[in-house]
């Protein structure tokens, strides 16, 4: 790992009033890795993503993207640095067609086209990739829940990111719909994209991640091989205890 | 996209057609009568709706009366006034646009809107369209200092509004007061009024305090009152409209400001002033363009008293000076038509320039700027809830009550 990590945080923290939503998070993600991030509700997972993408400004610590200090940078600067994300609560651009949703991302990518017609054509490719081919002329509010999640994913892909942060893209999907999403994540990795997956669907995380990072009460509890992490008693205690067990039961 | 574009064309075309189809009412020519089409744009909605309606009533009364008496003929035909009204919603641009629309229909003779801003906009358009306008609702001097030659104002100029009251106090008030405070709304008209008043007061040797301004149409003038309270003025003169006028009296009472006398422009002669303020209105002085004792008579309306009686019979309320102004403007137009023996705008304009006559409204004689500057204003006082003329002495109905304590 002599290479510069795609993302590195040092002592990253955010305090809301007297509450430390995230504190002292230090870790790094090398190029091409799929990092799973898990943690119980309120562990600070979404805040953590928002800190990395600039949607929330950190109160302490640093964020480095490909070695460059991007602490406190605006979200668009971080996006232009090659970082894309999805939102846990999906945020499609409802006034536009599905294709246009993607095309906007293509237009605003630093090396992308400035012409809408070209962007629309390229958008169709992205739609095809995520399995939304043929839905391009519909409106986001006319799509199924699963398709809206796919759109959210597609919007992140549109800007051809080098690092992509997925905030619960699989929440609410049926088990049969999860498979293709996992394939897509693996394909991204194959293309050299670094992926951070924040998920509740444990099975998915285990299946896809190279490493897993566990957040609890805004702090890093541990980081390591997915199977090892999941077997760790501390992790089971804070988070997985009943929930993972229940889920395992339900899935079998 | 395609469909929308088509609908756009359709709408454009439709508008075009409707506009081409606008009827150009020709001067109707019934046997033996010559119809004089006059355009009047008045504010019937918006902030000046009240005064606009009074203006319209004044015009209507003139039309009824002139058509009924029919005192002269042109080329053997008797004259019939036909006034067309348009609402300008109290907005200067519409007041001006309405005149251009009248012009399209061949109406060159215009009776003005109400309010200085409206009339100001109209005066510019009248020049361009070569129409001729008699003004009954815009007294601000800056309408008449632009070199316009086609707008004639029957009212005494704005600078007279406060001046007349200062002169009346100088003339009648015993013991003579010393210190005058001027409180003024911040619109152009009110400021002109205040400047005129201060000038007169200084010339007559009174002490004047710095004028205090408040926003036009505000119902809270307490700040201005608090500022002058400590200096204990003998007379408070307000250049106000109705709302500020009422607020000034009410809030003076509330705040314990007690001069020897209040004098206000515009508000006191409005009928609601006394009814709104009740006992507080007692003895407040006001300046008025016209009262029912104004000296003078004419062949259509007789004396001011005749006018007041007949107007009240026709409209069910007392004639206010806004009504009388409007009628007087219409009357000036009619007299000039008679004098010019023509309804041509240029000839009527020439006749207006040289008009010099008495009327129920007093003197009507326009100076070179088009203002009726030789007409004095009357000063009234609310006495026992009634509007009583107290000055000039010649038309006074009662003595000015002075001083009075509130």
């Amino acid at each position: 790992m002599s290479e510069i990590p795609v993302l590195e945080t040092r002592g990253l923290g955010r305090r809301f009033g007297s509450l430390d939503a995230v504190s002292d998070v230090s870790f790094s993600v090398p190029k091409g890795m799929i990092l799973g991030v898990i943690g119980p509700n309120g562990a600070g997972k979404s805040t953590f993503i928002n800190l990395v993408t600039g949607h929330i400004k950190p109160t302490s610590g640093k964020v480095f993207i490909e070695g460059k200090d991007m602490t406190g940078a605006a979200p668009w600067d971080i996006a232009r640095a090659g970082v894309a994300r999805t939102f846990q609560i999906v945020k499609p651009f409802n006034g536009m067609t599905v294709r246009e949703n993607i095309a906007v991302g293509i237009l605003y990518e630093p090396h992308g086209t400035n012409r809408m017609a070209v962007a629309l054509r390229e958008a169709d490719e992205v739609l095809h990739t995520v399995g939304l081919a043929g839905q391009g002329e519909r409106r986001p509010n006319e799509l199924s829940t699963a398709d809206v999640r796919r759109l959210e994913f597609a919007k992140a892909l549109a800007s051809r990111p080098r690092l992509i942060l997925l905030d619960e893209v699989m929440a609410g999907l049926r088990p049969t719909e999860i498979g293709p999403s996992l394939d897509l994540i693996r394909e991204l990795k194959a293309q050299g994209t670094t992926v951070i997956v924040v998920e509740h669907v444990m099975k998915a995380i285990v299946a896809v991640s190279d490493e897993v990072l566990v957040l609890a009460q805004g702090k890093v509890l541990m980081q390591g091989d997915p199977h090892e992490v999941l077997a760790d008693p501390r992790v089971i205690e804070v988070y997985l205890g009943h929930r993972y067990a229940k889920r395992q039961k339900g899935n079998s | 996209m395609k469909k929308n574009s088509r609908s756009f064309v359709a709408v454009t075309a439709a508008i075009g057609l409707v506009m081409l189809g606008v009827n150009y009412a020709p001067v109707a020519n019934a046997a033996g009568t010559l119809t004089v089409s006059i355009g009047a744009s008045v504010p019937l909605t918006g902030s000046l709706a009240k005064e606009g309606l009074l203006t319209k009533e004044g015009y209507q009364f003139c039309q009824t009366k002139v058509n009924a008496v029919s005192l002269f003929t042109i080329g053997g035909k008797s004259i019939k006034l036909d006034i067309t009204y348009q609402d300008d919603t109290s907005k200067p641009d519409l007041a001006a646009q309405n005149l251009s629309k009248f012009n399209d229909k061949g109406m060159k003779l215009i009776l003005s809107s109400y309010g200085s801003a409206n009339v100001n906009a109209q005066a510019a358009v009248v020049e361009l369209n070569k129409q001729t306008m008699v003004d009954s609702g815009g007294a601000d001097d800056n309408i008449f200092n632009k070199g316009y030659t086609r707008t004639f104002n029957v009212m005494s100029p704005a600078s007279e509004y406060a001046s007349s009251m200062v002169k009346a106090i100088n003339d009648l008030a015993r013991p003579k007061p010393v210190k005058f405070a001027f409180l003024s709304a911040d619109d152009g008209f009110s400021k002109t009024v205040t400047a005129g008043g201060i000038k007169t007061a200084k010339a007559l040797g009174f002490t004047t305090m710095d004028p205090q301004y408040f926003p036009n149409a505000t119902s809270d003038v307490s700040a201005a009152l608090n500022k002058i309270k400590a200096d204990k003025p003998d007379v408070i003169i307000g250049s106000v409209h109705f709302v500020e006028g009422v607020a000034l009296i009410k809030q003076s009472k509330e705040l314990g400001v007690q001069p020897q006398s209040f004098a206000e422009t515009v508000a006191p002669p409005i009928l609601e002033f006394a009814s709104t303020l009740g006992p507080l209105a007692e003895n407040v002085l006001g300046s008025s363009q016209w009262t029912s004792t104004t000296k003078g008579r004419d062949k259509y309306f007789g004396t001011a008293a005749n006018y007041a009686t007949e107007f009240a019979a026709a409209f069910g309320h007392e004639a206010t000076y806004h009504n009388a102004e409007a009628t007087a403007a219409c009357l000036a137009m009619v007299m000039s038509i008679e004098k010019a023996k023509s309804i041509d705008a240029d000839k009527v304009q020439a006749a207006l320039k040289s008009l010099n006559t008495m009327s129920f409204f007093g003197t009507i004689h326009f100076d070179s700027t088009g203002q009726n500057s030789s007409k004095p204003m009357s000063v009234i006082q609310i006495q026992k809830g009634k509007i009583i003329t107290v000055w000039p002495r010649i038309s006074a109905q009662a003595k000015m009550i002075w001083p009075y304590a509130k």
């Binding site: - | 909605t45 918006g46 902030s47 709706a49 009240k50 606009g52 309606l53 109290s90 911040d186 301004y213 408040f214 926003p215 505000t218 119902s219 809270d220 307490s222 700040a223 201005a224 608090n226 500022k227 309270k229 400590a230 109705f242 709302v243 009422v246 607020a247 009410k250 009472k253 509330e254 705040l255 314990g256 409005i270 609601e272 009814s275 709104t276 303020l277 009740g278 507080l280």
Partner: protein, 294 residues
């Protein structure tokens, strides 16, 4: 010093009157996310009703205001139930436009029915003042001020203590959940709007007793309610009171200590500064500001 105290007292009283005008407006905005541009027209209508009550039956305005409130309650209920409810889920601009249309109709109707004459309710005690040292406290303004405070507290008690009040609050926070709990949202919305209109009616009565009114004044009251509600902040029933008092004070001080006629300008300057530094208003809750969508 006397002048300062006098100006301050007067500003507070004026602020109370503004709060009274704004409290219903703020309620409707907070609960339903509707900016009711016809609020000022309701205020004026309330003034007319109280005026008619006095001129026909000699009813004192402090009794007449209940008639105003009752009539406007009914009108408000009908307007919300059968008009605004039809588009209440639409973008905010739609409700803005709808209430603007309602406003036009109300104003023109009042113009035709009551004429554009200036009116005012006269009472024997109308301009009396209490004297405390050199400070004059006008009686009617004081009563209106107390009424504003009373109404604010009563509203809070109503919302927290009564069934209807609780369902209004619940609907304001989460309509879906409220519906699941068996709350009839349509009815609750209509009731909320009706209360707001009734409060506007009472405010109108006070306005009529203190100042003069005519239909053209409606816009001014809507604007002031808008400013006061934003300044105080949404989601707090005391917001209107806080906003009103602040505006009253600022205008009063500005009038006294600045030359010219800067009062309104200063009021708006304060508004903008407050918004930039406290976007949720002085005592508002972030939830209500964040929820706003266009």
């Amino acid at each position: 010093m006397d002048t300062f105290l006098q100006v301050t007292a007067y500003g507070l009283l004026q602020g109370g009157l503004l709060a009274l005008v704004a409290v219903g407006f703020s309620l409707v905005w907070g609960i339903m996310n509707i900016v009711n541009l016809s609020h000022g027209a309701f205020v004026i209508l309330g003034a007319y009703i109280a005026w008619e009550m006095q001129s026909w039956f000699g009813l004192d305005p402090f009794l007449g205001m209940f008639v105003s409130a009752a009539v406007l309650f009914c009108i408000g209920y009908v307007i919300q139930r059968y008009l605004i409810n039809l588009i209440v889920n639409g973008p905010v601009f739609i409700t803005l436009l709808l209430t603007f249309g309602i406003n036009m109709i109300f104003i023109q109707s009042m113009n035709l029915i009551f004429t554009a004459d200036f009116r005012s309710i006269q009472t024997s005690y109308g301009s009396n003042s209490l004297k405390i040292g050199a400070i004059h406290i006008p009686v009617v303004r004081l009563l209106a001020f107390l009424l504003a405070i009373l109404i604010s507290f009563a509203l809070v008690a109503f919302v927290k203590r009564t069934r209807t009040g609780l369902s209004i609050m619940a609907t304001g926070m989460d309509r879906g959940a409220a519906r699941l709990m068996g709350i009839r949202a349509r009815h609750v919305y209509a009731i909320t709007f009706a209360i707001s209109a009734a409060l506007a009616g009472m405010a109108g009565t006070m306005i009529a007793t203190i100042e003069t009114f005519d239909p053209a004044k409606a816009g001014k009251f809507t604007l002031m309610a808008f400013v006061v509600a934003v300044l105080g902040g949404l989601g707090n029933l005391y917001g209107a009171l806080v906003g009103g008092l602040l505006i009253g004070l600022v205008e009063s001080w500005a009038g006294q200590y600045l030359s010219g006629t800067w009062v309104n300008g200063i009021a708006f300057l304060v508004l903008i500064i407050v918004l930039i530094f406290r976007p949720n208003g002085l005592v508002g809750k972030a939830f209500y500001a964040a929820r706003v969508e266009l």
